[in-house]
Symmetry: C2
Subunit: 463 residues, 2 copies
């Protein structure tokens, strides 16, 4: 798999100088926009150079070894190019062209032909009908249609969240959202119709990949349920999965997109629970939730302490926590007395009402009391940012959470555009709504239980 | 009620020059930050002037008529000031002080005493334990603790969404969010413990208020269920209500905040359905949803046509629509044929896949075909903003929706910070997530049915 993310040489098959040619956008981005500096060759009928990439009529004409071929031609001619790749001894191929299984019987027949050639030659294929691969460490990106801005953004930011994504549109939202968040993308693989390499293969690779901390998936179907569950069970990192097709209408729409069989949704749900995969409810959760794993210890129990200086959010978060299967921590008289001594708090029972104005010292004392208490498993702080000191207190809170080994899902009651700016400027893991913060605690707890389950399964297998 | 929103003269009782005095922030904001130019008097022990507002020891000493008193003193002395207000003949009082029903038996007794004085004198009271009132038309705002920035923001923007809000923290989020949205606030009333004026009274006023198009409510409890339902049934404008206290924990937290009885949540739910009130699921819906009412015709049926150039969002939105009780419109062969003729569409069945690049002309033709079709009640467009032309097409779509009397809930697949910027710069009603867009269609349809229900009830009452 490694070669897909950092090949020494690439042939872009179908890159030409015709107007609107998609292959040429790949040549340009590799040659001009990205600091990645492997060799790039353009393959087209006229053997013409494209954006400085030497042109050949066939990969077999390229006078040196080619580690990866990216094919982006009309579907009908893909099989002949695959044959040439096999002849050239290329072992890694990404087929970005569409028009295969998702496009009727003729397309399905062509896809089967690809599979045969691949099997015979020992070649591994990503796609067809995909966007390709992005690696923010090696800076290799063979997405078509990306702009200079896009490439500069992901080159600037090397993160630890890797994705398996069946659709290009989702990639854009995730990268854009990460540009204003405390976590960044590491690797993205768009697997498309997955005639060869599927979600289970990539999961296995991401488990071995040291630079990946959290794995996200956008799926329209599962190729092989058993293989998927087995691969996921071996992954010791949080896995977040969104699957389209909860309803018949959604499944029908997805089918026309990436040709998946309309997997029964409740079967997928059960598979996730058996495999230790967190099923997310919205695309936005794929980029909003990873920071609870990267920036906070995991939630090992259900008892949450809320503190806020907006009485309304005490009630709102209590409703949300209970709705999420978590609990409002019951603070003993002793803990409440300690809280009383810190300053002028309005209410020392949970939810703790901080009142309108408390000092940095009081904040720090509250953090210590709650995080050290064996009555509390995690925090849900909802402080208003009425003074720069509050942000500084939150920075200290993040450190204290690590020290005590308990998480805080921080929400500051502001409009989203303000929250996003604060988060970006101060680099602290703030969630964008109370719903999102509670959801983060919920998935943190879910993941802690899955981790325990996987450990037991591993012991049983070893025994 | 009118006087509460635009009094000619105000006494701020409890405003002094002591450090951290909250009353002085009201004097300052009225006198220095806002263009509102009624008379402001400060009432304090020393009879000292505050930020240029003449000071008196009692409202009875003020040598001219006072239309409104804003009281922000410790709770214990509020009754004596209320008596002075009654003596002075002041008919409108806002009590912002806390420490009444929400603060135990002594507080409850004091609140009862206020009620008595008010009843005897014919005075109307907002509060206690509230933030006060804001009117973006008259520019009158007696919120305590607001900054120059806050006041300038709401003075710049006069909108048509009015709110009844039991908590100050919520007001901040709504005003901030509106600063980057196509709708703006009109009037906000923070009703607090509502010893006299309650949600039903304000509903009645907002129905009569021509500058209010949509009403939002944040409630922690309902004072009088029957009165509330009757008032809401007479309102011919969409009403969105968020109530805290879905769970016992949430109700308990709210109780300590604004002293409400923990209304049974399912009773509130039923009351909303009987009263024609849309119950919202999150605070964010109070500011995200109104634009579907102000900028789009209402959704009169369930059949939605989706068009997108991201195959993934075809499936995602289909799932969401079905989950929301709406339907994917079935397009007849005739309609599909018309769509085929517009340009190079990938898929002309619903969800319509626009493919990577279509022209303005094609966009306009698609809008006409779908909006004029009797197979379609509303649209869910999910176009990628890959070219400035797409935004221009959306501007045209908004006009066409008005022309055909059918709504479109627009979502552009970008990170929220980008969406918010596009929406603000181009002034078009874009929603921030596919979930939000589908929810907007759902509430539009719900409101259309409530409107029909209210008309029938009115006819029955008239008969």
């Amino acid at each position: 798999m490694e070669t897909f993310f950092n090949p020494r040489s690439v042939a872009v098959v179908g890159a030409s100088n015709s107007p609107f040619n998609l292959g040429s956008t790949i040549c340009r981005s590799l040659k001009e926009f990205s600091p990645w500096n492997g060799d790039v060759f353009a393959v087209n009928r006229k053997a013409e150079d494209v954006f400085g990439c030497p042109g050949y009529a066939s990969v077999t004409d390229i006078p040196q070894e080619v580690e990866l071929a990216v094919i982006i031609t009309p579907a009908a001619v893909v099989p002949q190019f695959i044959e040439q790749c096999a002849e050239k001894g290329i072992k890694h191929v990404i087929i970005e062209s569409s028009g295969f299984s998702e496009g009727g019987e003729q397309g399905r027949a062509m896809q089967r032909r690809l599979d045969e050639i691949a099997r015979e030659s020992g070649m591994r294929i990503i796609g067809p009908n995909c966007l390709g691969v992005l690696d923010t460490s090696s800076k290799f990106c063979c997405f078509y249609g990306v702009t200079k801005d896009d490439v500069e953004t992901f080159c600037r930011n090397t993160g630890s969240i890797s994705f398996i994504i069946q659709s290009g549109g989702i990639v854009v939202i995730i990268l854009e959202s990460f540009s204003m968040d405390v976590v960044k993308a590491n690797k993205i693989v768009s697997i498309g119709n997955k005639s060869d390499i599927d979600e289970a293969d990539v999961l296995e690779y991401f488990q071995k990949d040291d630079s990946t901390e959290v794995i996200g998936m956008y799926l329209e179907n599962i190729k092989d349920g058993r293989k998927f569950i087995e691969a996921a069970r071996k992954v010791k990192k949080p896995i977040l999965a969104f699957k389209v097709g909860r309803t018949g209408e959604g499944a029908r729409a997805a089918m026309s997109h990436t040709a998946g069989m309309a997997n029964n949704d409740s079967i997928f749900d059960r598979a996730c629970r058996q495999a230790g995969i967190i099923r997310v409810n919205a695309i936005s959760e794929l980029h909003s939730l990873p920071k609870i794993f990267t920036h906070m210890p995991s939630l090992k129990g259900k008892r949450i302490a809320v503190f806020t200086n907006s009485g309304a959010f005490g009630g709102i978060t209590a409703d949300l926590l209970v709705g999420a299967g978590l609990e409002m921590a019951r603070l003993s008289p002793k803990t409440q007395e300690k809280l009383s001594k810190t300053g002028q708090l309005f209410n020392v029972a949970n939810p703790i009402d901080l009142g309108p104005a408390i000092s940095m010292q009081t904040f720090l004392e509250i953090f210590d009391i709650l995080l050290s208490s064996d009555e509390v498993d995690g925090l849900l702080p909802v402080p208003s940012l009425w003074h720069p000191m509050v942000i500084e207190a939150i920075v200290e809170l993040v450190k204290k959470c690590r020290h005590y080994g308990k998480p805080a899902a921080i929400y500051t009651p502001n409009a989203v555009h303000k929250t996003v700016t604060y988060r970006n400027n101060y680099n602290i893991p703030i969630f964008e709504s109370p719903e999102e913060a509670v959801r983060a605690l919920q998935v943190s707890y879910e993941n802690a239980r899955y981790t325990a389950m996987k450990e037991v399964l591993q012991e049983l297998n070893a025994a």
